[in-house]
């Protein structure tokens, strides 16, 4: 009863044509573009890796073999679990966490400055300067980082000419280039949610706290950060998810010894041609990431509804 009331009110408000369009567009987006592919991936991940003629045949039954493979490794291997893949998995998550914290540390002061200074034109120029580099596509940006951080790149040249180092530092091998590239890739997704929230913070609250004797760190700890929490968590969630799932930057900027978990997934799909295994790996990544985000939200007492703000 209530549901039909809501629907008829929805159509009354938007008209039949617009209402239908909205429903279809959202439905298409949610079901066709998001749910269906993910469900088919889920389905894939539970199937055997079979040559096409045998698909749908008697051997095509559900199995946990790919999930087992991620945890235990190939049967008959020397180690009792899949040390290589699990190691990469954990390292990827830790690195994504690190990149997220790095971005947060970089963006919070900047977002605070942008949000609280009513500098008008100057701030708008700053924001524009932040956005314009994103017109350059991701591959180009990653290769640009590779050049900057290369043996004869700008940074090494500069350090050598200043006499601070004798021989070039291998930023690629040390993963400096990778973390910089990843940190840079999604930095806007951190700045803008925080900036939006802080912009709406009443300056008087900061002044009131200052008037009551609070030093700057306490003002941030007790007044600004609690207020900016929805923006911070929204930014962190996006940066973490996207970093953990990034492919281009690790591919281009990663050192020879460092592998990103997405690269393993990519290998299974592409070079290995083993879609079910790739799907299983991707699903595990997705679920673990969601789990991490949800537990972080619980830890910092952020509600799901706040993130949408």
């Amino acid at each position: 009863m209530k549901r039909t009331g809501f629907m008829s009110e929805f159509f009354e408000r938007n008209g039949l044509a617009l209402g239908l369009y909205l429903l279809l567009a959202v439905g298409f987006w949610v079901f066709i573009l998001i749910l269906l592919p993910q469900l088919s991936m889920l389905d894939f991940s539970f199937r055997h890796h079979l040559p096409p003629p045998e698909m749908g045949g008697p051997k095509d039954v559900y199995t946990l073999e790919h999930y087992k493979f991620l945890v235990l490794g190939a049967q008959g291997a020397d180690s009792s679990y899949n040390a290589v893949d699990l190691g990469v998995f954990v390292r990827t998550l830790l690195a994504a966490l690190f990149v997220t914290l790095l971005d947060l540390a970089l963006c919070y002061p900047l977002a605070y400055y942008l949000g609280q200074s009513n500098g008008g034109g100057f701030v708008r120029v700053l924001v524009l300067l932040l956005i314009i580099p994103y017109w350059v596509n991701e591959i180009l940006r990653a290769f640009a980082f590779r050049i900057i951080f290369g043996d004869s790149g700008v940074i090494n040249e500069l350090l050598i000419s200043m006499g601070m180092i004798g021989s070039p530092i291998d930023f690629i091998r040390e993963n400096v280039a990778l973390y910089s590239g990843l940190g840079y890739a999604y930095i806007l997704l951190m700045i803008f949610p925080i900036y939006n929230v802080i912009e709406s913070l009443d300056r008087n609250q900061i002044e009131a706290a200052r008037d009551m004797g609070a030093p700057w760190w306490r003002i941030h700890w007790r007044v600004v950060i609690p207020y900016a929490k929805p923006g911070i968590s929204s930014g962190c969630t996006m940066v973490f998810m996207l970093t953990a799932g990034a492919l281009a930057a690790p591919q281009i900027l990663g050192g020879p010894s460092s592998l990103w978990f997405t690269q393993i997934i990519y290998q299974w799909f592409n070079q290995g041609g083993n879609w079910p295994r790739g799907a299983a790996y991707a699903i595990v990544l997705l679920i673990v990431c969601i789990f991490i985000v949800l537990s972080m939200m619980r830890l910092f007492k952020v509600k799901m509804g706040d993130i949408g703000k």
Binding site: N204, E207, A208, A209, D211, M212, A214, P215, R222, P226
Partner: protein, 370 residues
């Protein structure tokens, strides 16, 4: 109660680029008194408050609190507490945490803070509401929480930036009384900023009236009302009828002013102009609506103005009668409602009588809202 800590402004100038927000302010605020800065918006009163609280430094001159020069001392180090126009309560802290934030800053433990909060909540008649969020309180309650929060730091000087302006009329009048009572109870110096002359007059021991960054007059409320120092003060504080003319004669502080439309008017020379006013000067005479009355028909008084009644309105406690004959503006007369039915005199000529002692003449100058 303590004697309170005084505040002194000595030749204070505050400039923003080429704009002079405050011009040569010299104010001595007695410790433990209720002092108001009154003026229209943009007159520099909030700027003065921000300078006293330490959010901006004067371009020139000194600000002393309790005799100590405050130059270079930040707002967090001054013995002042500021109540903002929008109150600026912290929305994510509970009421009791809001109130005791200054103690939290000082490192006081939670149990002691809670105790102090409950005492203050008692004082502001909000006992038991400490665990609410500010958004769950009404406007008047928020107001009181802001006062408690400011008092919690035990400041020597409480600065209030039009804190009542967001409240509705009834509540505002109630809060005036309450603020005055709180001030008398805690005995500290209150500096109050307002554009509402009613607030300034009812609560303050002394009022400074400001315009364009200049302080025109500092005096107690009655002197401001009865003996304004400038035409601006006379026209900004309360209502006033203005007549323009030239000084014809001055004798014993009383002057006769010749006007174009209302003939010769007799008036007392304002104290501020006693020494300077000369015969032949351009002058303005101010007669308050309540200082006018209807002349007795056979009165031989020469303190009369003849004018045509153009409008009448009933305001409850008073009748307002508007008459033609002022300089450009109409003359307004307020008659106390004594419960008798009044005969309308619309469109008729009327003789008004005024008391020269209650009429003030000042050298011509700028009026408010011109």
């Amino acid at each position: 109660m303590s004697q309170g800590v005084g505040v002194n402004l000595q030749d204070v100038w505050i400039r923003f680029g080429d704009f002079v927000a405050v011009r040569e302010a010299n104010v001595d605020i007695e410790g433990g008194s209720f002092f108001s800065f009154l003026g229209p918006s943009g007159c520099g009163k909030t700027t003065i408050l921000r300078a006293v609280s330490g959010f901006l430094e004067p371009s020139d001159g000194k600000i002393l609190i309790g005799g100590n020069d405050m130059a270079g001392i930040g707002p967090n180090k001054r013995p002042t507490a500021l109540i903002f126009q929008n109150l600026a309560l912290f929305p994510l802290m509970k009421v009791w945490e809001n109130i005791t934030f200054s103690l939290e800053v000082q490192g006081v433990g939670a149990a002691d803070r809670r105790k102090r909060a409950d005492e203050l909540l008692d004082m502001i008649a909000l006992a038991g509401q400490g665990d609410k969020l500010p958004s769950e309180l009404s406007g008047g309650q928020k107001q009181r929480v802001a006062i408690a929060r400011a008092l919690c730091a035990s400041p020597d000087v409480l600065l209030l930036d039009e804190p009542l302006s967001a409240l509705d009329l009834k509540l505002r009048q109630h809060m005036r009384t309450e603020l005055r009572q709180i001030q008398q109870r805690v005995g500290i110096t209150f500096i109050y900023i307002t554009h509402d002359q009613g607030e300034a007059l009812t609560m303050s021991d002394n009022v400074a009236v400001m315009r364009h960054g200049i302080i025109d007059q500092i005096a107690d409320g009655q002197s401001i009302y009865d003996d304004p120092a400038t035409p601006f003060v006379a026209s900004f504080v309360g209502e006033n009828n203005v007549f323009r003319g030239k000084v014809k004669s001055i004798e014993n502080g009383m002057a006769i002013i010749s006007t174009n439309r209302t003939g010769d008017l007799h008036a007392r020379v304002g104290t501020s102009a006693r020494e300077t006013m000369k015969v032949g000067d351009k002058a303005m005479i101010f007669i308050r609506p309540e200082a006018l009355s209807i002349a007795e028909t056979n009165s031989a008084s020469n303190h009369r103005i003849k004018a045509l009644v153009t409008n009448e309105e009933f305001e409850g406690q008073a009748y307002n009668v508007f008459l033609e004959g002022g300089e450009g503006k109409e003359i307004k007369m307020s008659l106390v409602n004594q419960g008798k039915i009044r005969q309308s005199s619309m469109g008729k000529d009327m003789f008004l009588e005024y008391d020269p002692e209650q009429s003030i003449v000042l050298p011509e100058g700028e009026l408010a809202n011109e």
